[in-house]
């Protein structure tokens, strides 16, 4: 079945450490790619998105993601995390042939220790 995979569901790290969250998808053809974040008690909000062009995209709060088409991946990175980055992170994909439907990964629960 076509899907979106996120690895290492729980991630615990200290402030100032670097963060990388992997996302792989299995849809062929053109896709739109998103990372969403859900801070504790808040609604999901967009972190960044990729539709075309430069495969390295920058989002809010110092996050960036790199689209590697040959690897069907869209990994999220932040060089130095803060306690306020504690949240759940979701990768999402819209395949061209699926209208506006988003397929979500299972999420990464990230805890940053002060």
């Amino acid at each position: 079945a076509q899907s979106v995979s996120q690895h290492n569901h729980h991630v615990i790290l200290s402030e100032a450490a670097s963060l990388e969250l992997g996302c792989n998808y299995s849809y062929g053809g053109t896709v739109n790619l998103f990372w969403y974040v859900q801070y504790p008690g808040q609604h999901l909000q967009l972190l960044l998105k990729y539709f075309s062009g430069d495969p390295l995209v920058k989002g809010i709060k110092g996050f960036e993601a790199e689209f590697i088409k040959s690897k069907f991946s869209f990994n999220l990175r932040k060089p130095s995390v803060q306690w306020s980055d504690t949240a759940e992170y979701f990768c999402a994909v819209t395949p061209l042939l699926r209208n506006n439907r988003l397929a979500f990964g299972k999420g990464n629960q990230v805890v940053v220790i002060p």
């Binding site: 996120q6 569901h9 739109n32 998103f34 969403y36 808040q42 609604h43 999901l44 909000q45 967009l46 998105k49 539709f51 979701f90 819209t94 209208n99 506006n100 439907r101 988003l102 397929a103 979500f104 990964g105 299972k106 999420g107």
Partner: protein
Amino acid sequence: DVKVTQSSRYLVKRTGEKVFLECVQDMDHENMFWYRQDPGLGLRLIYFSYDVKMKEKGDIPEGYSVSREKKERFSLILESASTNQTSMYLCASTSDRYQPQHFGDGTRLSIL
């Protein structure tokens, strides 16, 4: 700023009840979605609607139905609530596939 409003933040119902979850968006978006969010399972699409009175099944539609009588409002209906429908329900809307989906705060539904 886009606002997606879900009618209840918390809801407790009994097994067998008919349950209505309401969602309203204020940005004239054509597309609206209902998801459920469960720990370790991420977000799973229940139903979506791309226009008034139009709907399409998502990945887990069993036990649910939807209604879209007006463009701004999308209702999720649990015909006969069961305990395995205890979950967080999220509504979202978007204008098109090139725009991000905007999410409501969610309704945490408990079925006893």
